[in-house]
Structure formats: structure tokens, C-alpha cells
């Protein structure tokens, strides 16, 4: 078992983002590798940004745990293409955390910025705080968002959560912003709080909203009532504007005036 602790050093300009796609468990298997991060167009060695301490040894990525400490709110692309192991972020994390991730676990004790788990294939992400916009979505122009694995957000999520969702599951315990599940074609989205304009243009998959949906899309057809864990939900099918075959389970909703 290997435990890597990366403590973010005090920075003069903490607002400047750092691109750190090198931070993933498999990267630490080779002790000789010289890992770098990017700040703007400058490539910096790890030691310039982090105080690194490594304990133990590991045979595979699954045996590696990375702990990120300090102000990591502007550090981007952590866990990109991650294929095993575990990353724990003690504070907040910057954009694009867990891009294309295939396996393993990322746990964020604070909040995550936009694009959390975008286009992820597998593994799981747990975010104890809030998630930013485009959580589990596809990047600009991409037709497939998250394809597998799970994302669980205990706080609120921003706009366009689960955009282009193509598989896997996303659970938001708080509220979601505008247009959650827009263009989703497969997979499952569960929102325990409120949401607005959910699942426009959806072609497949299911979305459950335990709170109230504001500005409900008029292009969904009501297809009956169902009980989920003792609570009554209304089932909708759509988006018929897109010949969609998705399913919504919604507790309360209101159409736009």
C-alpha cells in the first residue's frame, strides 16, 4: 500500500489555475518519473507546487492512495484518465476533476468546480460539498457525456448537470441548477432537491426528482403514477420534441407561466 500526500504550498497568486493531469495513482508507481504540472504556458516540477511525501510501496494503481491537502481549489484535471486507486481531496478541487476516469475512487471533502467527472467511463466520485456546472457531462460539442460509473454529490450541483449523460448514475442530494439532464440518452440521474427545466431533448435514460421541478418542459407526456420507496411520483415520457424515449419520475412540478 502506498500513501502519497501532496500538500499544496502557499502560492503568491493562488487564483492562477494549475493543470495537474499528472496527479493520478498510476503515475506514482514509477518512482523515477519526473512529474510536472502546468501553470499557463510554464511547465513546473511537482516540488514547486506541492510538498510531496510518499510512504510505502505499491504494485498496482489500486494500492495507491493520494491525499491532497491545502488550497487545491484552482488545481485542475486531477485524476484525468484514472484507472484505479484512490484520491482523497481534503478541501475544494478545481475544474475537470476525474475527466475520462475509468476506475477507482475520488473523494472530495469540500466542493468541486465545473466539469466534475466529465465523460467518465467508470469508477466512482463522491463529493461532500457542492459540484459546479456540467457535472458528469460531455465537453463542448461532444455527443456522449458520462458513460459509466457513479457520481454522488451531497451538496448542490450547478447548471447542465448530467448533460449528454450516456450511462452510469449521478445522484445529487441537494438541488440542481438549470437544464439538468439536457440531451441525456441513457443512464440514471437522481436529484433529491429541486431542479429547473430538467431533461430537455432527452432521448433515453431515467431521471428522478424528489423535490419540485420549476419550468417543467411541456414536451413530456404523463404516463401514470408510481410509488418509489413509499412516496408517490408522477411518471413522464419524452422528450417527444425529439422522439425521445426517456422516463421522468417527478414529485411536484410547475409549468412556465
Amino acid at each position: 500500500m502506498m500513501r502519497v500526500v501532496l500538500a499544496v504550498k502557499e502560492r503568491k497568486k493562488p487564483f492562477l489555475p494549475i493543470e495537474a493531469e499528472a496527479i493520478l495513482p498510476s503515475a506514482f508507481l514509477d518512482q523515477e518519473a519526473k512529474l510536472t504540472v502546468w501553470k499557463g504556458n510554464k511547465e513546473l516540477p511537482f516540488a514547486e507546487v506541492f510538498a510531496v511525501s510518499i510512504d510505502g510501496e505499491a504494485e498496482s494503481a489500486d494500492d495507491v492512495e493520494i491525499v491532497i491537502r491545502g488550497d487545491s481549489s484552482r488545481i485542475k484535471r486531477i485524476g484525468e484518465y484514472m484507472d484505479g486507486g484512490r484520491i482523497v481531496i481534503e478541501g475544494d478541487i478545481g475544474m475537470h476533476c476525474g475527466n475520462f476516469m475509468e476506475a477507482g475512487t475520488i473523494e472530495i471533502m469540500g466542493s468541486a468546480d465545473a466539469w466534475l467527472g466529465r465523460e467518465m467511463r467508470g469508477g466512482s466520485i463522491i463529493c461532500r460539498g457542492n459540484a459546479g456546472d456540467y457535472c458528469g457531462s460531455g465537453y463542448r460539442g461532444e455527443k456522449k457525456g458520462m458513460r459509466g460509473g457513479s457520481i454522488e454529490v451531497f451538496g448542490n450541483a450547478g447548471d447542465f448537470t448530467a448533460e449528454m449523460l450516456a450511462g452510469g448514475s449521478i445522484v445529487i442530494h441537494g438541488n440542481a441548477g438549470d437544464m439538468a439532464g439536457v440531451d441525456m440518452h441513457d443512464g440514471a440521474l437522481v436529484i433529491h432537491g429541486d431542479a429547473r427545466m430538467v431533461c430537455a431533448n432527452m432521448t433515453g435514460g431515467t431521471c428522478t426528482v424528489h423535490g419540485t421541478v420549476a419550468d417543467m418542459m411541456p414536451t413530456f407526456v404523463r404516463t401514470g403514477q408510481v410509488l418509489i420507496e413509499g412516496t408517490e411520483f408522477t411518471r413522464f415520457s419524452g422528450d417527444i420534441a425529439n422522439r425521445g424515449k426517456g422516463t421522468l419520475f417527478i414529485r411536484r412540478w410547475q409549468y412556465m407561466d
Binding site: Y139, R140, G141, E142, K143
Partner: protein, 566 residues
């Protein structure tokens, strides 16, 4: 004075009938000369295949339409990313790369001259701006006249001379090179939600037919003595059974130029379809090729489709709408006032799809069934059929029956019964390929006289040296070596300078734009035509004085003056 000596080059230069000889090439100040001094820089080609720089006579690389392809497909920019390196700028994109990406990749393949296939005259500035950032190739632009109101009125009045005078003004105003007709009349009809099915339909409000437009413009083109012929994208692109429309169009073409063809029909693959619907869709390439074989006045390009992802973009707005309804993905539609329009959608050509497999076969059949390689040019209508980086694979397919059979085994199983490809044994040789990738283009575009496409004394020293040894490679079996060899030159030389070495572009480079200025007699000058000016001011949203592209948009440029018979 800079001098260069290329030793031991195995030269194929079809315009000079050189079929493969070990020669030395001498270059001084960007031109080929008879000899150089003892201090010349020396490149030892070591017997490698050496040809004039490649020319693409129909590609969409610069302009509003291409840029909108970039806009609407940000996902395309995730492919093909390269870092800034040496003299090379950062690039990105696959089917619609950044201008530098286009330039570097063409240069890596030995291409030194490009013709932008369709420039809307009103939006010419954008094309010229992007030309300036395509530094390793010389460029020229086809100007769209397919739905030009003034032209259609002249056609209706059967006044060829007036049509020619209008063309002359537009070409000079927008610094264009030649006349392009894209679905003539069809895009104007599309402005009213309609399309034209073939050359005998009537364009709404103008009482002319595509046949009238095509025949008038062919005559007007020769009146102006333009270097290139009319460049035609036929009506009814991409619909089953459209081959008959294409044959009828070819029947219209007179043989009125001794130097070159009278009509360049582009991406004919998309116009060679049989059947009555997508269900009985099949190839009619044999009939199209037979028509071309009987008509020396026609030159075509393949418009080859290759499997994979790409973006289709054309001035043919209604056709793109039909494609959108098939693919149900994103779609862009654009109107250019009084002139033309355009449409763009991303597509994926799949081997598993029968229609796509047949399209793939048709392009190859056209090249193999047209006897004279000067009459069938290698092109994909980049990026419509495939991005140009696929050219080496197309070369290998044309040179190797075995490769075609191997590929045929991977496409939709019903393909073989719908196309003649399996029965075609022809394997093209190195000389044929040299014609189809540079010599035929130079002749068709009428730029051999500008020193393009050949290596005679006085020619521009645009030279491509490929890491291929003709005697030691058997193209019909070693098709992988052919693909590899044509994908990356050992040296690409532009105007006497090595601009690309094994894929590494070495200089910033400066593009040269070729444009045409026909000289028209004073009485025929359209600027003295009050009706033209009145209509221009009445219908355009720009003033006529603001319309022409300012000289500041062109960097290095060559103006080809022609003496019009007007």
C-alpha cells in the same frame, strides 16, 4: 541569390513526359534553372521519388464556411492537437483543423498549391485572411456564381457578354481565380424552401434553368480567357439515381478550349448514384466514366469518400438539409445575399453502412474507369468525402488490387453486388499517380504557365521528395509502404526552400495568392452599366464602393491579367 542542387533525384514529371529518371535539379532564387554554381546548397535525394509539389484542385480550407465548421464542431478540435515546436505553431482539429494545421499537414504530404473550392464573393475577405495564415502553400479561390442575381438576369436575357462582364468585375473585386457553380440555381431556389431536381427545372423568379446558367457561363469563361474552366458542382448531389442528371449535364458541354477542359466537374462520386431510393442504391460510375472517356472537354475529380469522421460543407444548402434529415445531428444553414448560400453538418462514414460502402467504391471506380488520368483528379473534396490526410491511402487503393480486395472484405457484405469495383483489375502506376496529384491539376487549373506542376526550366521550385524507391517497391503488394511513403515527404521544397523535412515544418513561410484580372473593353465595363449599379445599390446591404476586397487583405500575390474578348 540562393542556390540549391538536388542530386540523384528519381524524377517523375508528367508534364515534361519524364517517367522516372535519375536527374539533378538546379534551383536559383526559387526557380528551376539549368545549372548552379559550386557554392549551392546540396540535397542528396539518393534515388528517392521526386515530383513537382502536389496541387489540390478542390479543397475547402479557408473561408467562412470552413470556419463555421470549426465553430459548430468544437469536439473536432480535440483531435490532432500538436504543440508549438520550432517554427511550427500549435495546431488542432482533424476534419476542419486550424489554418496552420492544414498547412503543415499538406506540406508534410508534399503539397504546395491549393485551390479553395468555394468562396462566396461577399465573404471573400475571410478567405483571404485565412490564406495569409496558410503559409506553406500557394492558394487561389473559386468564386461562387451559382445564384448570382445579376448573372441570372444576364442569362435570362441571353446576354453572354454581359454575364462575362459581370464575372470580370466580381473576380477582380474579390481577388478570385475562377468561376464556381454549386448546384446552379438550386441554392437560390432553397431561399424559397425549394430545390431544383436537375438541369431543366426553372429557378424561381428568374425564369432560367441550370442548363442555361451552365452553358452561358462556359462561354463567358472562354470570352474572359480565364486560366481555369468553369468549375461545376452538378445539381442534385447525393440523391439516388442522380447519375442521369450528371450525364445530361455532361452532354451540355462544348469543346471550346484547346489547352484544357471546358468544364471541371468536381466530386463526381457524389453525382454517380443509381437506384430510385436508398434501398436499391447502387453505383453508376461506369456510365459516368464512359461519358468522360468520350468527352476530352471534361475533367472530373473523384470526391472520394473514406471511412471515418468528417465534416461536410458546401454552398449547396438544400442538399445539406437533406443530409441533416438523414443524420439528425447538428446543422448549419447560411444565406449569402444575392449570391449563394451554404450548409454544414458533421458526418461519420461507416464501413458497416451499405450506402457509405457504395460511395467509397464509386470514387475509386471513377478513377480506375476513366482511361486518361489527366481527366480524373485525386481529391476527396476535403473535408466532405474525407480529410485530405487520407490521400496516401487513396493512392495505395488505386495502385493495388490486393489492397482494394482486403478493404472490400471489411465493408458492408452487400457492397460487391451493387458496384463494379470487384471486377476492375486496373492498378495505377507511379506515373498515373503523379498525374492525378499534380500534373492534371496544373493543366486543369491552367497554372502550368505560372510554373506550377512541372519541373521545367523557369518553373517554380516546388518539389516533393518522397522516401520511396520506385524500383524496390512493388505497389500492388507493398501497399503499406506506399501509404507510409506518401504520408510524409523526406523534403518538401517550396519556392526553392526546404519548408518541411520528415514532417517537421522548418520555416514560417509566406503564402502567395493567385488571382485573375480580366481586361474588358471600356464599353463593356460593367462599371459603366447603370442598370447593374442601380440593382447593386438597391439589393445589396453593402455599397458597391465598399464591396471590393482591399489590397491590404493580400500579402504576396500574383495577378494573372487576361485579355478578354469583350
Amino acid at each position: 541569390m540562393s542556390e540549391l542542387l538536388i542530386k540523384n533525384a528519381f524524377v517523375i514529371d508528367p508534364l515534361n513526359h519524364i517517367r522516372g529518371e535519375i536527374m539533378d535539379i538546379f534551383v536559383r532564387d526559387g526557380r528551376i534553372v539549368e545549372s548552379v554554381g559550386p557554392n549551392a546548397e546540396v540535397i542528396d535525394a539518393g534515388g528517392m521519388l521526386t515530383m513537382p509539389g502536389g496541387i489540390d484542385s478542390h479543397t475547402h480550407v479557408c473561408g467562412t464556411k470552413v470556419n463555421f465548421g470549426r465553430y459548430m464542431s468544437p469536439e473536432d478540435m480535440r483531435a490532432g492537437r500538436t504543440k508549438r515546436h520550432g517554427a511550427m505553431h500549435a495546431t488542432s482539429g482533424y476534419s476542419v483543423p486550424t489554418t496552420y494545421g492544414t498547412s503543415y499537414r499538406y506540406s508534410t504530404m508534399g503539397y504546395t498549391t491549393l485551390l479553395e473550392g468555394a468562396m462566396a464573393p461577399l465573404e471573400a475577405r475571410h478567405t483571404h485572411e485565412e490564406f495569409n495564415y496558410t503559409p506553406l502553400q500557394d492558394t487561389m479561390a473559386n468564386v461562387l456564381f451559382d445564384g448570382n442575381w445579376a448573372i441570372m438576369e444576364a442569362v435570362r436575357d441571353q446576354d453572354t457578354a454581359r454575364a462575362a462582364a459581370i464575372v470580370a468585375w466580381f473576380l477582380e473585386a474579390v481577388k478570385g481565380f475562377s468561376i464556381k457553380l454549386t448546384n446552379p440555381g438550386g441554392t437560390e431556389a432553397w431561399g424559397w424552401g425549394k430545390n431544383l431536381t436537375c438541369i431543366r427545372d426553372i429557378v424561381p423568379n428568374f425564369e432560367v434553368t441550370p442548363a442555361d446558367i451552365i452553358t452561358t457561363m462556359i462561354k463567358a469563361n472562354e470570352m474572359l480567357r480565364l486560366p481555369h474552366s468553369v468549375h461545376l458542382h452538378c445539381n442534385n448531389l447525393g440523391t439516388p439515381g442522380n447519375y442521369q442528371c450528371t450525364l445530361d449535364t455532361f452532354d451540355l458541354v462544348p469543346d471550346i478550349n484547346r489547352e484544357r477542359q471546358s468544364l471541371y466537374a468536381t466530386h463526381v462520386q457524389f453525382h454517380a448514384y443509381g437506384g430510385t431510393s436508398w434501398k436499391d442504391f447502387c453505383s453508376r460510375s461506369d456510365e459516368i466514366a464512359a461519358s468522360v472517356n468520350n468527352r476530352p472537354q471534361i475533367t472530373i475529380d473523384m470526391g472520394q469518400v473514406m471511412f471515418g469522421k468528417t465534416t461536410t460543407m458546401t454552398a449547396d444548402g438544400p442538399m445539406e438539409f437533406n443530409l441533416y434529415r438523414l443524420h439528425h445531428n447538428k446543422w448549419s444553414n447560411h444565406d449569402v445575399e444575392l449570391e449563394t448560400g451554404s450548409g454544414i453538418i458533421p458526418v461519420y462514414y461507416s464501413r458497416k453502412n451499405l450506402v457509405n460502402s457504395i460511395m467509397w467504391a464509386i470514387g475509386l471506380e471513377l478513377a480506375l474507369l476513366v482511361r486518361d488520368p489527366y481527366q480524373c483528379i485525386l481529391a476527396t473534396d476535403n473535408p466532405n468525402g474525407a480529410p485530405f490526410v487520407k490521400y496516401p491511402e487513396i493512392i495505395a487503393l488505386l495502385m493495388s488490387k490486393a489492397y482494394r480486395e482486403a478493404e472490400l472484405a471489411t465493408v458492408h457484405p452487400d457492397t460487391g453486388s451493387r458496384v463494379p469495383l470487384p471486377a476492375i483489375d486496373r492498378e495505377m502506376d507511379w506515373y498515373d499517380i503523379a498525374i492525378m496529384t499534380r500534373a492534371a491539376q496544373a493543366r486543369a487549373l491552367g497554372i502550368a504557365g505560372q510554373g506550377k506542376g512541372h519541373l521545367s526550366e523557369g518553373a517554380e521550385a516546388d518539389i516533393a521528395i518522397y522516401p520511396l524507391r520506385v524500383g524496390e517497391t512493388d505497389p500492388s503488394r507493398e501497399y503499406d509502404a506506399i501509404i507510409k511513403g506518401f504520408s510524409q515527404t523526406e523534403y518538401t521544397i517550396k519556392r526553392g526552400r526546404v519548408v518541411c523535412r520528415r514532417g517537421e515544418c522548418l520555416v514560417e513561410g509566406v503564402n502567395t495568392t493567385y488571382w485573375v484580372r480580366p481586361k474588358v473593353s471600356e464599353e463593356r465595363n460593367i462599371l459603366n452599366d447603370e442598370e447593374f449599379k442601380r440593382n447593386f445599390d438597391r439589393y445589396y446591404t453593402v455599397r458597391m464602393s465598399n464591396y471590393p476586397v482591399q489590397d491590404s487583405y493580400l500579402q504576396r500575390n500574383v495577378c494573372i491579367d487576361t485579355e478578354a474578348q469583350l
